[in-house]
């Protein structure tokens, strides 16, 4: 009897953990890092102990600059992980291909322990810059970075470098795009009810949602902005049901953030309700209802880190991408019927945020 109660509790706990972590979590063994560039430097130190620093800080011209990235979901998630991978590929093209710039990546490491193993592995292989692309990787990085003082690490999204000289921090001011969309949503809504489908109340998801809310209320103080955090980054079914609930409640404009919103976008399309996307361009999923998407362009932040590393600074600074520095771009959906009318309003708002005449106050 007791055994089964215990077992059931265990199952529920397991399910809760899995659903909370979203993307292939906890259980997936760390994949061997697929390396983009086949050419490995011949003298890559393979068997050095963690205390001995592997690679040299100065990179002679003949050797490629080597970047490794560890991420919680996959390089084609139409969201957070893809934004970083795409940036690295663009930088690689700019710097002259795989011979000059090597990219290695490990995907689907939702579990920080698996990610820690991958980060340590990359560090021992002598990568110049190792990007821990997920706020859940912080404590792992804090532990590993001091063991590799000659290697540079980057952690996002956060502003915290732990005061360590070899950690860069980066974050996205996602509240800015959220604010722009909030202003547009306020103009589009007829029912004065707007719904937001969020994952877990933290990080850039919370920033985006709060910015969106502030945007709506700046135009229509009497509008209702209802927010549901479904408690998961991966539960597509619940995200879809959250969208349905908003629509039943009278919402005629929806937005949401994180990778599980693909379920919500489908429901918005069925009911012909406007959608605003973030993290990546989501217009392809529902061309008729997606008005615009906020896209993260990490290029400038990463390029700046690389030039600092080449100049001998391995960390200690934090970078923020925003509308003004081109790290966040609002991409309008050309197929959307409203985009043309609403675009002017959005452009004015974007300019206002860029030149500082509009300031966003978050709760």
């Amino acid at each position: 009897m007791k055994k089964f109660a215990w077992f059931l509790t265990l199952m529920l706990a397991f399910a809760l953990v899995l659903s909370a972590c979203g993307a292939p979590a906890a259980t997936q063994p760390p994949a061997p890092a697929p390396t983009e560039a086949p050419a490995q430097p011949t003298e890559a130190p393979a068997t050095e102990s963690p205390t001995e620093a592997p690679a040299a800080t100065e990179v002679p011209a003949a050797e490629p600059f080597r970047v490794a990235v560890v991420m919680p979901s996959t390089i084609n998630d139409l969201a957070f992980s893809q934004s970083m991978y795409d940036a690295l590929v663009r930088i690689q093209e700019k710097m002259g291909g795989a011979d000059a710039f090597e990219i290695a990546y490990s995907e689907s490491l939702g579990n920080p322990d698996d990610a820690a193993a991958a980060i340590r592995d990359y560090a021992s292989q002598g990568f110049n810059l190792i990007i821990a692309h997920g706020s859940q990787y912080g404590s792992a990085l804090q532990e590993i970075a001091p063991d590799f003082p000659e290697t540079s690490f980057a952690w996002g999204t956060t502003v915290d470098t732990f005061g360590l000289p070899n950690i860069f921090a980066y974050e996205a001011a996602s509240q800015e795009g959220g604010f722009v969309f909030g202003v547009m949503a306020a103009g589009l809504t007829k029912s004065n009810v707007i719904g937001v489908v969020g994952p877990i109340e933290t990080g850039d998801a919370k920033l985006y949602v709060d910015g969106f809310k502030a945007g709506v209320l700046s135009v229509k103080p009497d509008a209702q902005v209802n927010v549901t955090y479904i408690g998961s980054f991966g539960d597509v079914a619940l995200a879809a049901e959250a969208a349905t609930t908003h629509i039943s409640n009278g919402a005629d404009v929806l937005t949401g953030t994180a990778q599980m919103v693909v379920g919500a976008i489908g429901k918005a399309e069925e009911s012909n309700v406007f959608w605003f996307g973030t993290q990546s361009n989501q217009a392809s999923l529902a061309p008729s209802i997606v008005v615009a998407s906020q896209v993260y362009v990490w290029d400038s932040a990463v390029e700046e880190m690389i030039s600092k590393i080449k100049a001998g600074t391995l960390g200690g600074e934090s970078f923020t991408i925003n509308l003004a520095n081109g790290g966040e771009v609002i991409e309008f959906n050309p197929d959307s019927t409203v985009a043309a009318d609403a675009k002017d309003l959005a452009d004015t708002t974007i300019d206002g945020i860029k030149d500082g005449s509009i300031t966003i106050t978050l709760p």
Partner: protein
Amino acid sequence: MISDLFSVTVLIGILASGIRLATPYLYAAIGETFGQRSGVLNLGVEGQMLLGAFAAFYVALTTGSLWLGVLTAMIVGAMMGLAMAYVTVNLNAEQGISGIGFFLFGLGMSDLLFQKLLGTVETVKGFPKIYISGLSDIPGIGEIFFSQNLLVYGAYLLVPIAWFVLNKTTLGLKIRSVGENPDAADSLGVSVARVRYFTIILGGTLSGLGGASLSIALLNVFQQHMTSGLGFIAVALVYFGAWRPIGVLGGALLFSMINSLQLWIQVKGIAIPSDIAAMMPYVFTILVLVASVSRVRAPSALTKPFEREN
């Protein structure tokens, strides 16, 4: 305001979305009920659902035929069940561990196939809502019961069928006897291996169908690990429902209704932290279980491999 929750719109919303949310749980948990009644615990449900969801989505997307998608999902689930049956019945492997193995296989394989064959999240036109003239127009009732898609109805139809098969047929008697006392069943000429093969393959088929209900009926997208723990909840629901299809139905509905209730609580802006709201379905399920734990009795041979004594 709490009082905002007591309205017809909210009530209809909770019931309608509870019925939808329970659908994939029902397919998987009813399938698992058959397996467990015959003495086999299959923890690979989540993996079977994921592969089923991918197979259905991919076939529906490339061929344009939803029914072909459903069929493929069921075949894929059945193949997973067949492998599980071989491992647990012929090789007498530890059921819990091999189930986890099949879960990991399904998780990794669906991810790999998704990346190689699709590469990015796409949408497909899934099963439409069925409009039943007259019934669908009844206020409230129509929205709750008569405006769902075909696979939703299928899941609820499965419950009385499963009850009938388990309790009123010779096959059901064989399944139950193999789960309670395989030695006695064996001595009376019932093939324990054959019965267990049947139930595990049936379980896999239904799990695959449950996955299909997500990817081509309820959500119409496929994303990596889109089930996110749903298959494990389904296993828990079998325990919750005390190995009876009606109990499983009750558990699935309770869990889903509370999930839709917590969404409404958030939508209505009631001041409860979102984390607490998201926990509600889990907490309630455990509380109900604790309150009713004394009536639970598992099939005696559950998780025990059968070896004929000579």
